[in-house]
């Protein structure tokens, strides 16, 4: 006796409503769809694509010609730091950092954080940027020198250096409320090291110890290169 091809491969639980396909390796319920992490499948027929998970959190789509593209890792949150750090230091201090990173060479990186300055004196607050132990931009003012509270932000967009001949560039942006954001070369004080990046730090200083500068909501993202 011949059975239809879905018998034994497609069943729905009458209690929870979950639908299992392919001997239970794929499940569809009302709030998730799960399937087994597995090696790439064979190419689908023309006009179709196959979505699969080759490893970890990667989700890949494969077309009939065998071309694949990674859906989940075009942009990856490498890390962050969402606890406020504050300082009254009048010389450069490593204020807010994201550490325990492992960003290999040749990867585009985007790091950002939110800033604030309190009242207390007619002086500026400054922000700089470093990777690992290398200060790429020494702190530069992001506020006016007046006795006022300011809010602002800073970000850095660069590529971790893959080659000793290409270690410059990058964008370093900072700005505060009511001011024009300023953009300068990131690898200004020093060049980007050709090394795996393990930490990214925003440095800071204030023009007078009577004011406080704070930094919070730091995020670090990396872009896919293939």
């Amino acid at each position: 006796m011949k059975y239809p091809p879905f018998i034994g491969k497609f069943r729905t639980c009458l209690r929870c409503g979950a639908t299992k396909i392919g001997r239970g390796t794929s499940t569809i319920t009302d709030n998730y769809w799960e399937h087994t992490v597995a090696a790439a499948p064979a190419n689908p027929s023309a006009g179709l694509v196959r979505v699969y998970t080759p490893s970890g959190r990667a989700v890949t789509v494969r077309d009939s010609a065998g071309a694949t593209s990674d859906l989940a890792t075009g942009l990856t949150r490498a890390g962050g730091n969402t606890t406020e750090a504050t300082t009254t230091s009048t010389t450069s201090v490593s204020l807010i950092a994201t550490s325990s990173l492992s960003i290999t060479t040749g990867i585009p990186v985007h790091a950002m954080c939110m800033l604030r300055k309190t009242t207390g004196a007619a002086a500026t607050a400054s922000v700089g940027f470093m990777v690992n132990a290398v200060e790429l931009t020494a702190p530069v003012a992001w506020t006016n020198a007046d006795n006022a509270a300011y809010v602002g932000s800073s970000s850095a967009l660069f590529q971790s250096a893959a080659n000793v001949d290409y270690t410059g560039g990058g964008i370093f942006e900072r700005g505060g409320q009511g001011q024009t954001a300023t953009i300068t070369e990131l690898a200004n004080a020093n060049l980007i090291p050709v090394a795996t990046l393990t930490s990214v730090t925003f440095r800071a200083l204030v023009g007078s110890a009577s004011i406080t500068m704070g930094a919070d909501e730091m995020q670090v993202y990396t872009y896919a290169v293939a």
Binding site: E84, T87, T88, T90, A97, S100, M130, G214
Partner: protein, 178 residues
């Protein structure tokens, strides 16, 4: 003299925290209670490698950095050597700076239950993403603090239940009971 503490001051009111931040509030506490003279000169910078004078013509090292770690940090054998290269402490007061240690401290998860640490919550401390991070506050003073002043500052920075220096606990058992 650099004094390093675990976590951040727990008793700063929300209003003061918004107005001046933990660092500004701590500076106010130091001035109001005459704890000591903070190093606030715009040319003085403390780094892991030493104390530097920063000038228009460059920088010069004044000497090595003298550091006092709080008893809670001492309990996990945290030292200056655990900071990464080129770590800058600046001067004056800095609060709640996340610091990446060079290597993992086995006692860090136990220590996190004792101090005001932002990731005290349910984390897997075997995960290297958390195991090497520590939140610290520090103050750079122009001189060494007398013991009574240090104890007052310690309680401000780490709270009323701060771990006390061993010698104080021996000499004054009442203090050690918090």
């Amino acid at each position: 003299m650099l004094y390093v503490f675990a976590g951040f001051p727990p008793n700063v009111s929300a209003e003061m925290q918004r107005l001046k931040g933990h660092a500004g509030a701590t500076r106010g506490f130091v001035i109001q209670h005459e704890i000591g003279l903070l190093a606030e000169d715009k040319s003085i910078q403390a780094r892991k490698e030493g104390v530097f004078v920063i000038g228009a013509q460059g920088e010069e090292q004044l000497g090595s950095l003298q550091v006092v770690m709080s008893p809670a940090l001492e309990s996990i054998e945290f030292t200056l050597a655990d900071f990464q290269e080129n770590m800058a402490f600046g001067n004056a007061v800095t609060c709640n700076a996340k610091v990446a240690m060079i290597s993992q401290k086995p006692a860090l998860d136990r220590y996190r239950t004792l101090v005001n640490d932002p990731i005290k919550g349910p984390r897997d401390f075997r995960d290297p993403k958390y195991a090497r991070n520590i939140w610290l506050s520090w103050c750079l003073f122009q001189h060494k603090l007398p013991e009574f002043a240090y104890l007052k500052l310690l309680r401000w920075m780490e709270g009323d239940n701060a771990m006390l220096p061993k010698e104080v606990m021996i000499e004054c058992p009442v203090l050690s009971e918090g």
